[in-house]
Symmetry: C2
């Protein structure tokens, strides 16, 4: 398998030792090697990846600096930290669950400087409202930011509870507003990578993988009253999908 590595490596020009480090890191995070386990010897790794010994060491040095492994001369390299408990951020796929999970979140509102262009809508997403209020915030857990949020709220909606919208998650406030009917709510998710802004606010590397979620809520007149553009840290999220939510499939045919 690994005679391909050199070729595969060529596809990106990222330094080899970083690529190797990422692979080893992933093996540990995936539980391939558990806490306390001894990982493959340098010899095995240089054979597996067909690279120089020093390059393997460079990769492992990186992991050591991260505190992920512990090296002992003559003994081997061992997993030093338990990396379970990640992937705690479950993206919900229905309205009620979504509200439930975010209603206690306290966003950190960011200033919005320049006039903001109206949100981009897919035609199937409904019509644009006349004017929108734009809010920007960072969602954190503890001191770890996990999402950068941009929200367009139809002006009349925003006007109903401006204070609430500035102190709580917009989606959550929206769900409680009297007399506001949500006819449709729709989300799309693509895998992206952090631009400078996202990298800065989420404290992740430039181009680190992200989940870009576009979320639209439409009222009974077909007007998009909420348009959210959310960028999540890719390494925190997990999606659960019940494929039979609409009942079991028809297996008579």
């Amino acid at each position: 398998m690994t005679e391909h590595l050199v070729k595969t490596y060529q596809r990106s020009r990222v330094p080899l030792y970083l690529q190797v480090a990422a692979i080893l890191r992933k093996r540990i995070e995936d539980g391939h090697w558990a806490l306390g386990d001894k990982i493959s010897t340098l010899e095995k790794l240089e054979a597996e990846f067909q690279i120089a010994r020093v390059t393997v060491r460079q990769a492992i040095e990186l992991l050591q600096k991260e505190g992920l492994v512990d090296r002992r001369q003559g003994k081997g390299t061992f997993v030093a930290r338990d990396v379970k408990g990640k992937r705690w951020l479950r993206l919900e796929t229905d309205w009620d669950a979504l509200i439930r999970t975010i209603e206690d979140n306290v966003p950190h509102i960011l200033p919005v400087a320049t006039p903001v262009p109206p949100p981009r809508l897919d035609p199937t997403d409904g019509k644009l409202a006349k004017r929108y209020q734009y809010l920007r915030s960072v969602q954190s857990r503890g001191d770890e930011p996990y999402a950068l949020v941009g929200v367009h709220l139809a002006k009349p909606i925003y006007a109903m509870a401006p204070k609430a919208f500035k102190t709580r998650t917009a989606f959550s406030v929206l769900s409680e507003l009297e007399g506001v009917a949500i006819a449709r709510a729709h989300q799309t998710l693509v895998i992206g990578s952090a631009d400078t802004e996202a990298a800065h606010f989420l404290k992740i590397a430039l181009n680190a993988p992200t989940a870009e979620v576009h979320c639209v809520a439409v009222d009974d007149k077909g007007v998009a009253i909420y348009v959210g553009e959310i960028i999540y840290r890719g390494d925190f999220i997990k999606l659960d999908i019940d494929l039979l939510a609409n009942g079991p499939p028809d297996d008579t045919k």
Copy 2:
């Protein structure tokens, strides 16, 4: 904003020009600059990113090699290719739609050499069957592979239609088998990165973002008869989620 770039850059040790290239590529793919548009001048870019002119050029050279931009001395750099029509692979979130989209796929079966450990199951996913048949395949569209699939099928299920399972998508075959009841079917998705194997089969860079989907189908006895581990190219997929699939939210409270 961009005085942060140096600091942000430090978070990953990927070469700077690659990081900048990725950002510019993303801007084009996001439609920030459309086909034929002139992108920012070298001068503006070096100011924005606070980097040397030569480094910006190196980044843009990369995009030119990809055919994404066209440079003209004295005029500027222009978007040369329309990058619409990506993100064509829609991951479905309910059984019927899933079957519909994959039933015509023709997998390319890969040989399975060594004995394969039984699939890992979350306790909530059901019980393990006694024995499984393991199938491995690459899904492609045209000559572009988009998913690397590993499927564990409970032996009795596999035995019902071994040929079909080797020539068609397992999930699709499964849905048509007489007398096989699917009581629950569940999917989880996390964002990951390509290991050497995935990079090789999907023809992407090592550590390129992927979507790792774990899919389990359970029969009426609580036995997991199908366990799929699917690695998708991250840049092809798009998830659509209808938040109100279970009816509109209760807005009386």
